[in-house]
Amino acid sequence: MAQAQAFETDFWKDANLRKVWDEIVPGEPRKTIPYTLTKEAIELYCKSVGETHPLYFDEAYAKTTRYGGLIAPPSIHIMLMFSCTPADDWMRSPGTVNAGQSWSYNVPARPGDVITLQARALDKFIKRERLFVVHDNVFFNQKGDVICSGRGWTIRPA
């Protein structure tokens, strides 16, 4: 189980194991890892973007809302993308440039959720000499509910 403590922060390590643009096959599933979302990981993410809403921090308050308990901000998928993928996933390739993203939100992620990811490259193309990959991603909770689904456009290192 990949948890934050064991997370490899040196993205150069294993770089030779990652698929380059030529090797990425649109439609082929990426390897993913189940991840247990913690309150601490949510709080650290909130701190990094200045989120202060009590829905993310105050259990007593959160229980009075439509959500019935603590939730993570919708954009927590930014972190889940890395926590749910292994070190040799090509999204980590140094030089990967994010060109755009679109995400749809269904149910919120919550502390304690065991989150799984289904992900694949959907398309790849060349535009103005740049190597693009379109990837699609769906995160689920332990009940099989869709948390969110998203598509991203990245420019791959040459």
Partner: protein, 149 residues
């Protein structure tokens, strides 16, 4: 005044939070997002050439913009009992340490469907020079069974 679906009009604006970008804020976003791409850590790496894209120094994660826009949308939606349902963004210009950025939104349209009500919002993030660094569109649901907080 509390925002309601009926009271909203095209052209209404949403002000987002100002955010000061520094090496420390970028490093914190690395730790929080687990995205340790050297684009955000290593000036020397950024002097190299890769993929025809050059930034000339570390840049903020594009997804930090995304997180700030999302924060603006939820902080606006929650008090109205509304739900952030979608966000699409494109990065227009890199953001660097020393920049100050701020997202904002303009209501573009609202629409009722068979079972709910939806608001479309054009969003933009600008830097301290007024330059657009990110643009996009958000969709917020105003459920019929409003549960105001």
């Amino acid at each position: 005044m509390t925002t309601t679906f009926d009271s909203l009009s095209a052209g209404d604006t949403i002000d987002g939070p100002q955010f000061s970008v520094s090496r420390e804020s970028i490093r914190l976003f690395c730790d929080a997002s687990l995205d340790y791409n050297p684009l955000h850590l290593d000036d020397d790496y950024m002097k190299g050439s890769f993929g025809k894209t050059q930034f000339g120094g570390v840049i903020m994660h594009g997804m930090n913009n995304f997180g700030l826009i999302s924060r603006m949308i939820t902080d606006w939606a929650y008090p109205a009992g509304a739900i952030h349902r979608r966000l699409e963004t494109r990065w227009v210009k890199p953001v660097k340490p020393g920049d100050t950025i701020r997202p904002s939104g303009i209501i573009k349209a609202k629409q009722s469907t068979g079972k709910s009500r939806w608001v479309l919002i054009d969003v933009v993030v600008k830097n301290q020079r007024g330059e657009k660094v990110a643009t996009g569109e958000a969709m917020v649901e105003f459920p019929l069974d409003l549960f105001c907080q």
